[in-house]
Symmetry: C2
Subunit: 304 residues, 2 copies
């Protein structure tokens, strides 16, 4: 089953305690597409400027990423510059240039409109709503957001949540959105807004997936080398939804596996700047780390 | 197999966003003893003052806690006053009165000296070393510490670690001790000091147990009501070592179960002020939550 993703394709300049980059390709839709394309065909909706050339386009040359919905317009591509300290959970934004993204209107090619899974990456919730008007009968709608939209476009954001099946959100944003410090209670408040599942992202601490009656908790994969956390959240969503879209059933069993696949793909992404590591790996390496994840978290029942 | 614990028995006055207490019984050795006594006999070494009366002593009336090593001396019992904000991971100390604890010299009754498991709770590492000189041939020595000793008595602390089999330490303290931001690397540096196992405590985020070749990662049990985190770390150690001491083998399988038992007991402790909740529960309730922990964290392998 194919996935439509709508979000940003961008240039990033990143500094971490371990080094820094010139402009490299980034953006929420980019990380998501690459991550999910290991599992299922992806249809990309985003916008780039004239400075995004054939060299940059090679990132999408994996065979599984359809770029018919990637608009190319006059002007420069969205640019973000940020830095991380030793606490890699916190990014300090140094510069944001919306450029061609300022006038972005998502427009889905007709062949995208029957996609089974829709991922609304972190963009203006009003644009997220425009996307939902263009898809016909998705089996699953998932979304992400950020603190900026929680304060500036709260009503539109809540409308998107009410129309989504699954919400990805950071723990800090979940607390901010619901004004509730306890994360279990905050998750229930998000569910009250409409979605059936909320996936709370906790960075290096892992993930909580909460539905009406069940919680699944997974740690992050412990890494000796965390180099650049940029794109971890979008890659997590990409691995999660990519795997899920490849399943017949979207039941609790597959949702839990999807959580682990998301964590696995994100764990590769943070091992190098930008997409450096994730463009090297194979599905076999992903499956091998999934198996390691099982060993990492396994314990026996009382009477085993 | 019995456990000897050496640490503090104290009065605490605690304020959290959910309420505040007058003086209640606390202290590292108290939380540890109560937690581990669900699983195995505990032998307590600590000191109290004249203000610690028969009413307070009832906390140890569980049948499984031997208080022959609890010294009662002239003066007042150790007192700690602290407050937590909505981030329950951070305690602000308002007052510390060492009182009778200032002159504490651990002195193990003869019947304690053959204990199979020794737990050196968070006290001056020089006192921890004195305890180790008094035990004969423990099967397992475990220790805890805090930031204060890392800076003020680093050499003695490292000597204790070199003589311990298992180190419990907070993630922040592991980073402080090793001057290494990455937690997997920091854990290896702690292992380099001598212990075979390091258990990194991450508060509401769970635990990493690291040995030479293996890592076990467990989330914390998600709670809707976290009332007072005081004693969570010592109760975790108590559940962990109490369960382990009840096992024939101290192998990876039982160490993983011990981690979960520790997490379970700690999850009860934080549901009320002080020991309020943990004094109510039964081993059956602990086992039931252990089983819930299995459901919480379970996912199926790829080809299951």
């Amino acid at each position: 089953m194919s996935i439509v993703v709508v979000g940003s394709v961008a240039f990033d300049a990143i500094e971490t305690p371990f080094g820094q980059t010139e402009k490299i390709v980034g953006g929420s839709a980019t990380y998501f597409s690459v991550a999910s394309s290991f599992f299922t065909p992806v249809q990309l909706v985003a916008v780039v400027g004239e400075d995004f050339g054939s060299e940059e386009m090679k990132i999408f040359d994996k065979g599984n990423i359809d770029t018919a919905g990637l608009q190319r317009v006059d002007g420069k591509t969205f640019f973000w510059s940020g830095a991380y300290g030793y606490d890699l959970n916190i990014a300090e934004t140094r510069d944001t240039q919306l450029n061609v993204f300022a006038d972005f209107k998502p427009n889905l090619p007709d062949q995208y409109r029957d996609a089974g899974v829709v991922f609304l990456a972190n963009i203006d919730p009003e644009l997220q709503l425009e996307v939902l008007e263009q898809v016909r009968h998705p089996r699953l709608v998932a979304m992400d957001t950020m603190n900026y939209w929680i304060t500036s476009k709260r009503d539109a954001l809540i409308e998107v949540m009410s129309k989504s099946d699954l919400v990805f959100i950071n723990e800090g944003e979940a607390r901010q959105l619901t004004n509730e410090a306890n994360l279990v209670v905050a998750s229930q408040r998000v569910l009250d807004l409409g979605p059936k599942i909320v996936v709370i992202k906790r960075g290096e601490y892992g993930v909580l997936m909460v539905s009406e009656k069940k919680i699944f908790a997974a740690p992050a994969y412990p890494l000796e080398n965390v180099f650049d956390p940029t794109g971890a959240g979008d890659s997590f969503a990409g691995g999660f939804l990519g795997f899920l879209a490849s399943c017949r059933d979207f039941d609790d069993r597959e949702l839990r596996r999807a959580t682990i696949y998301g964590s696995v793909v994100a764990s590769f992404v943070v091992e190098a700047f930008g997409l450096g590591r994730v463009l090297e790996i194979t599905r076999e390496e992903i499956d091998a780390r999934f198996a390691e994840f099982k060993i990492l978290t396994h314990f026996e029942s009382l009477h085993a």
